[in-house]
Symmetry: C2
Subunit: 355 residues, 2 copies
DNA sequence: CTGAAAGCGCTTACAG
DNA sequence: CTGAAAGCGCTTACAG
């Protein structure tokens, strides 16, 4: 592979001059010389070595994005947004699926550090794990000290996100919508207890209830994972319980999808017997049966602004946090509450009903 | 950020010795010295500079994956598989969404080259664009000459994929399944004309028909895109046409999802009025209403084997192409053909029916 | 077992 | 406008 040395030799100039031409610095070079260098570069199919450049700048135009799982549509969308911004600025993006595993996350950050990535963006929420966070804090402080940008798109142990979506207001709006439909007994699938973003969403649920003057009932809250299996399991938990509910508000769409599937499997009709609401508006939400009422998050835009934030941080510009609004999307999975709430109505119909 | 020089100084040894310890080469170093170096590295929070290492090896442990769009579940799944393998081997993965745009693809490959990525994996199919392919061929030949691995997971202009899924057999199997249900007039949404993988799938359709002794009718084939919008549009095209059909076989799931949505919007019931089949088995396929009959592709495994192939290529091991089998998944969207085929039955019911 | 030195490919003061 | 030279942080023959 041709190096700048060979380009310089072919053009009959010093490497300094060749560098000035191909790196498109604004250093003055005579037109004739410039042309000779360009010609040589073309002939040799010269591609500058980003590693050598990076060694000098102590930074390479690469941004790492840490996600929980790239196959989760939420994260794929955010990553795409980051990529949109990054590509325009000449950066490449490295995706790291942490599986919500502390060890993996740390090991990715270390790798990114070793590579002198210009920035690391945490797309997912942090978890409340003091030991991990202490070590992670050290790593991130070191990265910042080395001039890299660190941006959070979701709440985390070290504080508020830099760019984010208004999770609390979003869930509160959904609760308000359910209340407007007539619901008073609203169950909440809360997501993982240790995830900061899940706490924000739970807070939104509390606020929505409070706004409507409805009391908070701990028994209506199911702590779960953040995927479909967890949603299905949570439905079983609720139905096995004693507390009445007419709607299930979920902390994300995947939970709602799992709930919908399990409800269908049990012969519970949505929204006739119970309403179900999601959160995120991933693309599947519009395609299920019934289609899912949810809250739309500007995920791709979140990724774009995340990169814009990185760009500004790297340029040394002053930074301000951003909180993006969400949008209610009511589809088929929500409706008026049934005459008799679950789980009682189910037990009755099962005992007394046909089949 | 601490360099090996500082670690060496603190440990009171030469950089050569320090390097031998921290790079875990098998070069002999006395136990006492080794311990002193390790201690110094720990104290200084030393993280080796991958750029400096890469400059020496003319390669950095990074693999680029070129996909059409990371938000397409097909590609997210493949990338995840690559990541599984890459992480285990200490590599990072860069994702590049080309949007099926020649210019973007080329620019990504150039960036990857400049970064001395150890490998580039093309997850998506190549397109039949002679000019692009000529230039791309040059780039790829150069990369290989520089010692990088180039792996294709789908057919492309330069030939057969290195690791792939048996697209042709998969579609043929679905056609056979539809025939077994009683269908003879099977429409095919073929995907983009210029995409090599779409050609393989079309070939599968032809083969399936031939196996069943059914003649090929060009009018039943709709050339489209590969996304949902294209699927919806294709349904309109078929319904506006004159040719009878009782089933729609799609070249991928996204097309089938679009078809399902459009059919539902038009009041055509699936599978009562028409059967619909997809291809890929992305996770949404099981959640639609009706759930989608499709062909399961081992996407994540495809990604894993893709990386394994890279690993072997980099180690200079002999390589053999791999073709992975697919699996038929019959769900609710396929059934026996209706008494009267579309589009005639629709016209009739519209003219004569109530409402 | 240890170290001095060269060199990977670039950029950038510095001198002219 | 041009070039000689140093140096980014590492690894690896080579010498001892």
């Amino acid at each position: 592979m041709a190096s700048i040395t060979e380009v310089a030799r072919l053009a009959g100039v010093s490497t300094a001059t060749a560098s000035r031409v191909v790196s498109s610095s604004d250093y003055p070079v005579s037109a004739a010389t410039r042309e000779r260098v360009l010609e040589a570069a073309r002939t040799l199919d010269y591609v500058p070595n980003a590693l050598a450049r990076g060694l000098l700048n102590r930074r390479i135009p690469v941004v790492g994005v840490i996600v929980h799982d790239i196959t989760d549509p939420y994260f794929a969308e955010v990553v795409r947004g980051v990529e949109d911004g990054a590509t325009a600025a000449g950066y490449l993006v490295i995706t790291c699926s942490s599986e919500r595993d502390a060890e993996r996350e740390r090991s990715y950050v270390r790798l990114l550090r070793s590579m002198r990535a210009a920035a690391v963006i945490f797309a997912g929420s942090g978890f409340d794990d003091p030991q991990l966070n202490a070590e992670m804090g050290r790593h991130l402080a070191a990265m910042r000290a080395e001039g890299a940008a660190v941006v959070h798109l979701s709440p985390h142990a070290m504080g508020e996100p830099d760019v984010s979506v208004d999770n609390t207001a979003g869930i509160a709006a959904m609760v308000a919508a359910l209340v407007a439909l007539g619901h008073r007994r609203i169950a909440f699938l809360a997501g993982p207890r240790t995830l900061f973003v899940a706490r924000d969403r739970l807070e939104g649920y509390r606020r929505g209830l409070a706004d409507a003057g409805i009391g908070f009932d701990e028994q209506l809250v199911v702590r779960t994972g953040f995927d479909r299996e967890a949603g299905a399991l949570a439905v079983d938990t609720l139905l096995a319980g004693e507390v009445a509910f007419t709607a299930i508000c979920c902390a994300n769409d995947l939970l709602a999808l799992g709930a919908l599937a399990q409800l269908a499997a049990l012969g519970v009709e949505v929204p006739r017997d119970v309403s179900v609401a999601g959160f995120d508006d991933i693309s599947v939400a519009a395609m299920t049966a019934p289609s899912l009422s949810t809250v739309r998050l500007p995920l791709r835009e979140l990724g774009r602004r995340g990169f814009a934030h990185v760009d500004r941080a790297l340029a040394g510009e002053p930074l301000a946090g951003e909180l993006m609004p969400t949008q209610l999307v009511l589809r088929e999975s929500t409706g008026a509450p049934p005459a008799a709430p679950l789980p009682t109505s189910l037990a009755t119909s099962r005992t007394g009903g046909a089949r």
